[in-house]
Subunit: 537 residues, 2 copies
């Protein structure tokens, strides 16, 4: 017998019940595939979630531990699937809409998805690969006319849950049982899966809430997709606190998002930098549009441009808070919040903080190490690979023998090279594999590309290290010029001259129409490196 109820499992259903019990009338607003709006409440959604849970077992023949796939935008049905799986112990495999068909086939087969839930306007992406799916038994179409989906023997979601009894009290699952399966779209080889457990997601949820609260007065709009590391956990964080949720559906245009922000009085949103850059541009062109209800954006996924953070604060009074994490960290691991005494600083100095990836969330442990695994000081100068561990960090890749490369002695190797300031702010210098080793010294490809992108006529730039006979590797920049602008390699070099050490200057500056990107919209440096492998040889 334990002294305390240490056998009482940490289950998402406990947090779910708390939210629904206390905030039955809180709203959930959702943009559907056809851009119509569904407006509902926690209580009504609860009834649908309980009918969906019943459907899992009684109509779809699923058992606890089975996997369903979702291929959907951020919308209320996706929300229902999140919670119906989390509450019952069915695993929810959120499929990335942006994967290539062969990757989709791989992850669905590898995950062993038995049923696929597909938004009606996305069915066209699944229909062509149906024959290659080995484990899928049924397709459920969400919204629209299922019969027109092009999927074999489709079930309509609304019919599936219609007329069923509501699932009763949620089961007491093992806290180590998985509730969600997310694949990280690595740039090499097949995607690698991470199976979030009840315990890890519970601890992520409650620890993030203690670190950077969502309140019952908030209206949370996750722009970050629900197929991308559980929309950074916001559907899980909002419900226990009784916050309003606004799901934007397929329209992620600046106009569409800004309209929703205004119509629904959104207070908090989260997404990658390109989303906010688009919104900045739109608001800049529409100076009359204020966003009075918005208090902050969480921004992550790649480095947040300082100028953008500056712009939103000075022009709209919105704080852009940088967060950092990975699929393997379920996902939020650090947030760039100010320490109390920094609130007094002038904004330029605060921007130095907002430019970092922030401080680690309480509950996690981390260190930076050199190439021999030796721990480095947190002096803001030394940089090494970030290693992280804690109760919501992955311990393995799902049924994958690539686990060994990334997990060492209980630590996750993040592959990110970082400095840490004495105050504990983490600043990513580069991806370990993108650092450029020139004559025995390291050059940060990210620092270089940020400096190039600071040039007003540059739209996008990436820098990679290419093989060099004398120096081993040398940096080469690939630049997309802003529409209507003209810029030469000399202009860029001159722009860089004051900003970086002379030996960092790229050996070549190549102008391109487009930089190849990965499934999650990041620069695909591997493709660039492969394509230009012999440029300097």
């Amino acid at each position: 017998m334990p002294h305390m109820q240490d056998d009482f499992p940490l289950l998402m259903s406990t947090l779910y019940d708390h939210g629904v019990r206390h905030y039955p009338d809180q709203e959930i607003v959702s943009v559907d595939s056809d851009l119509s709006i569904t407006r509902t409440t926690y209580a009504n959604t609860d009834a649908r979630i309980r009918r969906l849970a019943t459907a899992f077992f009684e109509r779809l023949g699923l058992e606890r531990g089975d996997v369903i796939g979702t291929f959907a935008w951020n919308n209320h049905r996706h929300h229902e699937l999140y919670w119906a799986t989390a509450n019952t112990g069915v695993m929810c495999h959120t499929l990335n809409l942006r994967l290539f068909p062969e990757q989709l086939v791989y992850v669905i087969n590898h995950g062993g998805d038995r049923v696929l839930f597909v938004d009606e306007n996305l069915a066209g992406l699944i229909a062509p690969i149906v024959d290659q799916l080995k484990t899928v038994e049924r397709f459920v179409v969400m919204g629209g006319n299922a019969a027109d989906s092009g999927l074999p023997d489709p079930l309509a979601y609304e019919e599936l849950i219609d007329g069923l009894d509501e699932h009763g009290p949620w089961p007491q699952l093992d806290e180590r049982s998985p509730l969600m399966l997310c694949y990280s779209s690595g740039t090499t080889g097949n995607p690698k899966g991470v199976a979030y457990t009840q315990r890890s997601t519970y601890l992520h949820t409650i620890s993030c809430l203690a670190n950077f609260p969502i309140l019952a007065t908030d209206n949370v709009l996750p722009v970050v997709p629900m197929f991308h590391a559980s929309a950074w956990g916001y559907p899980f964080q909002a419900v226990p606190m009784g916050a309003k949720l606004t799901y934007p559906g397929p329209d992620l245009s600046p106009e569409g998002l800004v309209k929703l922000f205004l119509d629904e009085a959104v207070t908090f949103s989260a997404g990658v930098p390109t989303v906010w850059l688009g919104i900045q541009q739109y608001l800049d062109a529409n100076p009359d549009i204020e966003l009075p209800s918005m208090r902050a954006f969480l921004c992550g996924g790649s480095a947040v441009p300082r100028a953008m953070t500056d712009w939103f604060w000075k022009n709209r009074g919105i704080r852009v808070v940088q967060g950092w994490g990975m699929t393997e960290t379920n996902p939020i691991a650090s947030v760039s919040l100010l320490m109390p005494w920094m609130e007094e600083w002038d904004f330029e100095r605060q921007l130095d903080v907002f430019e970092t990836q922030g401080r680690i969330v309480p509950g996690l442990q981390y260190k930076i190490v050199d190439e021999f695994g030796e721990e480095l000081p947190h002096d803001g100068e030394a940089f090494g690979e970030l290693l992280i561990r804690g109760p919501w960090i992955a311990a393995e890749y799902y049924k994958d023998d690539r686990t060994e490369q990334s997990f060492v002695d209980g630590w996750l190797r993040t592959g990110d090279v970082c400095k840490v300031t004495p105050e504990g702010y983490i600043k990513i210098t580069d991806r370990a594999k993108d650092l450029i080793k020139s004559g025995g010294e390291w050059i940060s490809s990210i620092d270089l590309e940020n400096e190039i992108m600071a040039h007003p006529d540059v739209a996008e730039a990436t820098v990679v290290g290419l093989k060099h006979v004398k120096w081993q590797e040398r940096p080469v920049a690939f630049v997309v010029v802003r529409e209507g602008a003209t810029v030469t390699a000399d202009d860029i070099s001159e722009h860089l001259a004051d900003r970086v050490a002379k030996w960092w200057l790229p050996d070549e500056i190549v102008f391109v129409d487009e930089i190849p990107k990965t499934g999650t919209g990041k620069f695909d440096k591997k493709v660039v490196r492969d394509q230009y492998a012999d440029l300097l040889m």
Copy 2:
């Protein structure tokens, strides 16, 4: 191999390291036994905690799992003992200064304390019982001159930790290992112990922070003793968040506390109603004293008078937030926070909310049941015993065969009889054993005594049910008249006539000089019942 790092233990040392790492310069202020003030920082305290941890093993010969006892006020050395034990897996048994000598002997022997840490000005309470202590090997005296303590072969705390190496990284303990032993001073029989585990205390800490945050900008002064359910967990909550801590030592007078509130700019404090009633009286007599930095008091331990909550808000702009818990709930289980829409209500209506014991903290589950164990509705009318369960609730009493009476099918029987409103606010009606059953109907002794205490000439009142031939039980009131006032039984009856049902009126109103109290200052109704058992027969 688990999917996520579900084997990574939930340890207080992880939260501790987070706070000390990020807030080394945060202050800890402490009033010593001689009323002098010690002013130190997290970093300096960390060095002392690490030397104390070394002393446990190298000088005191303790092993992990051994028990030390503390007999101390709220001060910085007590804080050091809290964390040195929590971080190393030594158990900290916090001894209640207000226990009777025979109870002290019982709990020290029952806990198996090997070393006692005693404040110098409390040594006189331990010296007379030394011969009866069976397990204590050493006495450590905190502050002052150890040699004068009257304890056998005493060690001075400062000498104990002097010159030692600082303990290195904290051990990876089992999350189910106990870190603290607290005895609940039941009114019947010997005190019952509860052994808080790492996991339960971690989850209490992080869940309370998510529910009702302490911030790095806060300065927390726990008036609630560190020997009483870990000062409601505030020493554990403050450190991870980097909040300033102010420990009041032995001077808990209104003057002493108010001076500290002002000198140290305290923002948040916690204690029982009598503390705040004293402060209210003091401030009422000193209308020039404002408390501009104070944002809220957490108030619990017994019902919070509505008039007091009203007074502090209207006269000093301070919110009195009612909390509820027990030693068995480690200890906070509910907090009377407003829901967002209630912020718009007028204050009278808000007082109805503040008068409740609040809503349960996310992570716990509860129900109210009738005498047959049947669940009752949450309609604000039905009342029954509150049952509670969750990851920071006790599962047993420590080495005690009285566990069975209080724990049923994984639920803790709180012994409190409650109503629950549709919004989930819990309102305690009475202790189950104090409810009065008159002719088959229930009368709440607490409601009755609150109504009597609302009479301006009444200082204190308690109501008990005494045996009655016809009605089985009938209420009898025991009243202490306010100094200088005169009041008759008829005055009281008249005062009650408009406030309670006629059949609730006490059969007798007995005027007394003093009402017997328990070790924690609550009315000891058992003593009253025993003394007057035959009054109505």
